[in-house]
Symmetry: C2
Subunit: 207 residues, 2 copies
């Protein structure tokens, strides 16, 4: 299909498609004339991945570029995971974090096989450091509940990746699942908060 | 204390403190001279809340303003929750979402007390709509695992809020917990993914 058709099929304006092509986010079409290229279903699919990462996942164009390169590469699953995780995590130096906040995370992650520089370990320590600075060092009910929930979700993530047939759809799920999984969980947490609040505090229905 | 002292106590540069004052994020100090004000521990605490929301929670200044106004107001807990949730959620119109994606969310939330315009319900539908556009309508193992984990986390959120003594610390926890809880969960999910991957695929240790 021509670019105008790719635009109407995807709902992405032509100028935006051209921008993605220039930025290397979208692979070039097949040249069919001096000023024309043809695009196939793989371009439509890639456009949907890009919009998902940018609009729903909230990634920057640079970050989307990194994770799309990982999908296109022939890197192994663990390596792709690492790239996806680092792209969506804050860049933190272990030495810049308060040792007591790191120790608090490690207490919660006791028994987990996690490397010292795992971006999640460092990001969790920064959150706990913020609570400590706000005079709330004791979150001994709250944080372990989060860790248990995160473990259940990670298990579901790996199940979903395992269920994919080939390498490409597995790595696509690693990337999309890492980015959109955050958005999905945050969304369901808001719905759950309304539900739990209503259950706990709502007036009982009239008899 | 003077502004220079507030700066060194908080680690926030003077120019940034002045910016927060101009923007109304930080409450004014007590005027002690024509060009001087004095600040107390409440200013130091507020600065830490602001930095947590901006740096760790990733909020914009405008969004931080909205939720800080909610802390300072005398709104009830449910109303504060609503403001915090809407501030950190994408602005979505129910009518712009695919009905089948909304139905898929409602299936998962079956039995939950959630209003049709709950920002989490709509944001979850948008995530599922993205997966549907990518040819992945069936996530029947994945999404319910997320919903169960979100319910456990929301329960822990409400426990933590209930444990606070007074209205101000309760609403502060609503706001901080809503924003930083997302960051904490995403962080722990990354650590859990490394752990589960290692458990499932790592070579067994040599005997």
């Amino acid at each position: 299909m021509k670019m105008a058709q790719l635009s109407s099929a995807s709902g992405v304006p032509v100028a935006t498609i051209k921008y993605y092509l220039r930025e290397g986010l979208l692979q070039p079409g097949q040249r069919s004339g001096p000023n024309q290229s043809l695009y196939g279903p793989e371009h439509l699919r890639r456009l949907r991945v890009i919009r998902g990462l940018l609009d729903v996942g909230g990634l920057s164009v640079a970050a989307a570029h990194q994770v799309i390169d990982a999908i296109d590469s022939d890197l192994g699953l663990a390596h792709t995971f690492d790239i996806a995780q680092r792209t969506v995590s804050p860049q933190l130096e272990r030495t810049a974090l308060a040792p007591d906040a790191l120790a608090q995370v490690d207490d919660v992650l006791d028994g987990w096989l996690v490397s010292p520089d795992n971006p999640g370990r460092l990001a969790a320590a920064r959150v706990l450091q913020t609570f400590r600075e706000l005079g709330q060092p004791d979150l001994s009910g709250w944080v372990p509940a989060y860790a248990a929930a995160a473990l259940a979700v990670a298990d579901a993530d790996l199940d979903e990746i395992d269920a994919r047939a080939d390498r490409e759809s597995k790595t696509e799920m690693v990337v999309i699942g890492t980015v959109l999984g955050d958005a999905l969980f945050a969304a369901l947490r808001r719905a759950a908060q309304e539900h739990v609040t209503a259950e706990r505090y709502a007036a009982p229905p009239a008899p």
